[in-house]
Symmetry: C2
Subunit: 196 residues, 2 copies
Amino acid sequence: MKTVILLSGGVDSTVLLADRIARGDECLAVTFDYGQTHRREIKAAQAIADHYGVGWRSVPFLLGGSALTGNGEIPDGHAETVDATYVPGRNLVMISIAASFAERFSASAVLYGANKDDFGGYPDCRPKFITAIDDAVSIGTVSGVSVSAPFMCMTKKQVIDLGRDLNAPFELTWSCYRGAETPCGTCGACVSLGAA
Amino acid sequence: MKTVILLSGGVDSTVLLADRIARGDECLAVTFDYGQTHRREIKAAQAIADHYGVGWRSVPFLLGGSALTGNGEIPDGHAETVDATYVPGRNLVMISIAASFAERFSASAVLYGANKDDFGGYPDCRPKFITAIDDAVSIGTVSGVSVSAPFMCMTKKQVIDLGRDLNAPFELTWSCYRGAETPCGTCGACVSLGAA
């Protein structure tokens, strides 16, 4: 099966890529440069794609209105409700662009790494959204591209355990939202990684 | 009501803008630079936004795989099935980016000008798609942005008649897919305009 994987450069999408390669998929990894201040994750994504020898595309587009794109401070911790790190419409846009790639390269599916622990903070990681965007993309593309988040019923810890089983290159990933030399250990991404 | 309008620079989206202004909406017009060879439509869109004195954004992103983006010849006439002028995922991507704008600017709706005569050739103009992407966007955004195509039950001729009633600036629009000095008169966009 040919699949397009949204590869952020973080842990979840890296395990997703590892998993699909283990299943024998032919993968194209797509990373988005949406003005995120933690730009290290783009280089991380490239290194991970190279590690697996899969095709990789970096796609620039500008969004805004989030702490992740320089609007306001990145808060500590992981919110149960939508917080300042929410980027309006990010997953919508990324999935849509990935669907365009999928249709051009005859891939049948777009996969992304949202997991159960992401639901609280981000409306575009919830199962209801995943079902709805899958409908919209399959109806709106000629080849009926599907969209799914295979880890949506797994916790972050379960995703990491799967990654260990698959020998995923965790040393190449980047998760911290603050994007300094070393992970801050206190932002939402660091906290959820530390807790897992 | 605050609305984001997908303004291509063609007739349908211009009438849509005219209609929403007549209804008292506060509109933001968004135009997409997706590598279309008929680039005149971008300047046309700006002129139309200026005509109405509404905010206007041009958003660059790269898609491909279509005659409209330089892959192959633009065919004559208007196809009843998907043809070479279909741009994979175009409306998906444009609506998603517009939804991100809508959320940032507290607009409650994204509107686009698909009409009844567009259904045959483009899967992303059909009522089933419009309903599905409306679901996905309203679920996937914090503020529950809606998506609709108010002309979806109207023919192109009815849209043009409405535009005449509203004094829409047709002289500023650009429709021809070939984008030369003057409209070619034979591409799908010219044919459907001529027939209306």
